[in-house]
Symmetry: C2
């Protein structure tokens, strides 16, 4: 553990940083401090072997799980839902992912996915038996839904669960290659899996259900009939051990069926609170929705880190300029601020939109409402997941290009962030599939397929609107005038950019005239120019501690790569951001 | 070396593949066969350590350099330019990069950059002394232009070269941190560097010139005064050892100044065929332009590989479909073919456009014309570099997303291709800077800066037009009717997509009506649907041998990752590509 002179997280306590952190800012600060005190998070891992990276990640996960804050959070998860639980979970996710994306994802697998399955699909005894011990590090779990043959189309999974009344056991089986459970995180280290399989009782199929299947004991000895294949090297998230699970008639006790949506009596009678199989499966999937919001926060954490690094470097690095004068900071180049500022505005919009979605989710869960009846919330989660993860990809790519060769070096973090978060756009629901929530895509396949491009465009347009609405609302509610003024500019920029990006469609449908459209381009350029210096304050108020940023080009010294160091730029606004320019922003 | 039953490259000898390979198809086939016979190219390298990867890359480079074809090519490079030399160099680049991007880039550093500097800036004796021995593996070289302080703005480099008449030597010096030579490829293994430095003779500065500076001898012993710092881990191109060079008053003989554009007599008199310093430097830079075209080909090689993998997998993998029927191939999903087909069309367009640019370059060089007087050719090279490298990034990202979790696995190649080629957009001239060739950006910085977005958009629009023109011309000249028919569809698709992408601008400037713009969207969808099955033939006719493709999801078995294997799809057209659909394409 670290100690000594620097005993507190070096965080800024500005009013804006507190507003951006939201209601649970103290909770987030406490996690930041917990992580800072752990040496494991001060290391980089890009030069370790695959096995070393996996071990380091697991150590980090264990450290986080043992902090008092996290242990309390475990207990809150198992007991009745309290208002703020989702928001706090997301705060935790954001801070951990800022420190290390892989640790955040692995923790998400154990607590969000495996834990989420037990919590949301199990009865109270099952929660105590299969999840509480995780908080004591007695065992960890994995989430086995995806199959080789069915990634996006989970309704069609092929793994079988046959009830044997003679022994009161389920027989879990992988009948064919397409039924192999694939991409399973924590597959090479975890002990139990929440496995989705088609339940058959007395020869009658009851659709997919979730079972707890032992994979290996604490000493790593495999459970009879279970095979785990290591998938090894991926583009990123190297610390997450993804693998394939194959079940050869694995026998598990009757009590291992998570029974909230269906259970089997000792003598083999199936019962469920939902009679219709399709509705039942929808309800099960809906119960797992909250974890989807975590992905949005993970993507947002990646964006914020990338922007901190790119904005700071752009304010330090100089290149080109007027003849016979000093070269100018690269942030002064029109193409540079035009590339970075809209992403910064989007990161702010996402901050407020995820907070809104979390509050909505908290309300629904505390009200005991069923998530599958709330289609608009489900569509919001899915749309937000697609928008934020794509936004993250585009943002980090711009950050990489805007930091040039320095941004290509692993020491400067951006490549690792890109590789780690690239998979977000296709896992836990492919983005293209996410954009089709609101839709029954099986009955009229051809008709549905022929308007797929329309559907996905519309879904994105909807989520764009939500982000702008929530941003505007957050500006309105911001208590400090100075912060409100700053956020207003970024909000206007976000809205202008959304219209600019989609101006083709608006023009096609006569919502914009050609002249107005050209003015929007000018307004976008002017707004980007206007906020480029204030961007330094905003990225500082993201409150990511230096030991999480790590990048030397963002002003965090690293003895291993002294050549990459650029000192942190002075956040005082330069002449070009003085008020006299404000009046030049054209209003629509 | 491999031998036995499979003694020939498994290439398709269709008329289209020959047309795509162009005039030097036999030359390219011979290189394919040379590489196939070398075991080194059959290995993957993503699980090696950094040092192992670098060693493997160097061994591959040495293997290629020792092939009779390459040795002949060396001799052609040193002697008077022959028509076809550029085209053959690019064919070689494409084939090597298809086998391993890192090897292609490292070979490019040694032959294209270091060799290019000696060949284009040196006199005949200097070529014999400093470059010919490279073909005998006596030593290798590096290219040291970029400095910490001046990446894009090379005119401002700070490294000094002072002439000392008393010893008839130049003193090469790094006066400050910003003058360090940075990102230098082959820095940790190469023996000589072509170093750009500001020449001072008798107290008078003569602007940047290029010098051959010894770095280390064959035993790795550093030359006195030279320091090389290893930059180690990057996002990709792990086999290329990039580093930093620092010179502490390093003394080199007078003859080490490459003298085509300037030389110094023993007693210290400077002379040059070009009096104006700025013109002189432009001429030097222009002489190095041919290597820029190699980057376009490298990017194109990445795109083709990604498309081969994504298109084949999309024709094998099934997901969703009409109720109670088999699931459909994912290529049938509208969003899937809409994402992939425009990139395939762009890859074809780039094939023909680079061929055109190479022929133009060949003509100019054979005619003894100076490249710096040919601004349109320089603009074409720069624009093509920017367009193709961005296109490559977008294409590979779509390929990754369209192959889902499988595309995230290193075994399936796409992640490695993405990481390796990501740096292309910012190295050897940042793309944003590339798009400003035609322009003097120093005299009126503010005016220039305020229209930077316009300039870059216009430059891209120009290069878009050139790619479409060259594609159309290639269709016209295609000798086989069946191939012409197929290419016509892709050409129409390429043009439609270019207009669709930029429809906002066309609408703003009244070149399109809203109604026409909507029709273009329909035409784009219909063209993509129309070619989706023929895409299998096209990617097959890219003629990339299976040992280069490597990806199991593209039908190349790999005992290490049996779980990733999908058999190669049947290239026979399915019902949905039969002629009855052709008439449904709306024409503008």
């Amino acid at each position: 553990m670290l100690s000594g002179a620097s005993t507190a997280v070096e965080t800024q306590q500005s009013t804006l940083s507190r507003y951006l952190d939201g209601e649970f800012w103290q909770f987030k600060d406490d996690i930041r401090e917990d992580i800072r005190r752990c040496e494991l998070f001060h290391q980089t891992s890009f030069d370790l072997t695959l096995d070393q990276t996996r071990d380091l990640t697991m150590e980090r996960v264990y450290y986080v799980m043992q902090t008092p804050l996290m242990r309390q959070h475990f207990r809150d998860q198992v007991t009745e839902k309290q208002r703020g639980f989702i928001a706090k979970s997301l705060g935790l996710t954001e801070v951990i992912c800022s420190a290390d994306m892989t640790t955040g994802v692995k923790l998400g697998v154990i607590c969000g996915l495996y834990g989420g399955a037990v919590i949301n699909l199990g009865n109270p005894e099952q929660k105590d038996k299969w999840y509480l011990p995780v908080s004591d590090l007695e065992f960890t779990g994995m989430f086995a839904m995806t199959e080789r043959g069915h990634g996006s189309n989970v309704r069609g999974i092929l793994t079988e669960a046959q009830y044997d009344p003679s022994t009161e056991e389920f027989i879990i089986n992988t009948p064919c290659v397409d039924a192999q459970k694939m991409y399973i995180g924590n597959c090479m280290k975890g002990n139990h899996a929440s496995v989705f399989a088609q339940l058959t009782v007395n020869g009658e199929t009851q659709g997919p259900h979730c079972f707890i299947v032992p994979i290996r004991d604490r000493h790593g000895v495999m459970h009879p009939g279970v095979t785990a294949i290591d998938m090894r090297h991926k583009e990123g998230l190297h610390g997450v051990d993804n693998g394939i699970l194959i079940f050869d008639n694995v026998r598990i006790p009757r009590e291992n069926l998570l029974s909230r949506f269906g259970s089997v009596s000792a003598d083999g009678v199936y019962s469920s609170p939902i009679q219709n199989k399709s509705h039942r499966f929808n309800a099960m999937l809906a119960a797992l929705t909250p974890t989807r919001l975590a992905l949005t926060v993970q993507a947002m954490a990646g964006m914020k880190l990338g922007l901190i690094i790119a904005v700071r470097y752009s304010h330090s690095r100089r290149q080109f300029g007027p003849k016979d004068k000093d070269e100018v900071k690269i942030i002064e180049h029109q193409t540079q601020y035009l590339r970075l500022m809209p992403h910064l505005a989007a990161a702010l919009a996402l901050t407020f939109t995820t907070r809104f979605a979390a509050a909505m989710m908290d309300d629904v869960l505390c009200g005991g409402e069923s998530l599958d009846n709330n289609r608009s919330l489900q569509a919001l989660m899915a749309g937000l997941k697609a928008y934020s993860t794509w936004q993250n990809i585009h943002c980090l790519q711009e950050c990489r290009e805007c930091t040039g060769g320095m941004g290509f070096m692993m020491e400067n973090r951006i490549p690792g962030l890109k590789c780690d978060s690239d998979v977000f756009v296709t896992f836990e629901g492919d983005n293209m599939v996410m954009l089709q929530v609101k839709k029954n895509n099986c009955l009229f396949f051809d008709a549905w397929n022929s308007c797929l491009h329309h559907i996905t465009s519309l879904a994105l347009a909807h989520i764009h609107r939500v982000t702008l609405e929530q941003f505007a609302l957050a500006v309105e509610q911001c208590p400090v005038e100075e912060d409100r003024t700053l956020l207003t500019k970024f909000c206007l920029l976000h809205g202008t950019n959304l219209v600019y990006q989609e101006r083709g469609w608006y023009l096609e449908h006569h919502y914009l005239t050609p002249r107005t459209s050209r003015l929007i381009r000018n307004q976008l350029l002017e707004l980007c120019r206007l906020v480029k210096d204030e961007a330094l304050k905003v990225v500082s108020d993201f409150k990511v501690p230096p030991f999480c940023i790590k990048a030397p080009i963002a002003g965090v010294a690293n003895p291993r790569a002294q050549w990459a160091f650029y000192s942190t730029p002075d956040p005082a606004p330069s002449a070009s951001s003085l008020p006299q320019h404000h009046g030049r922003t054209s209003k629509l």
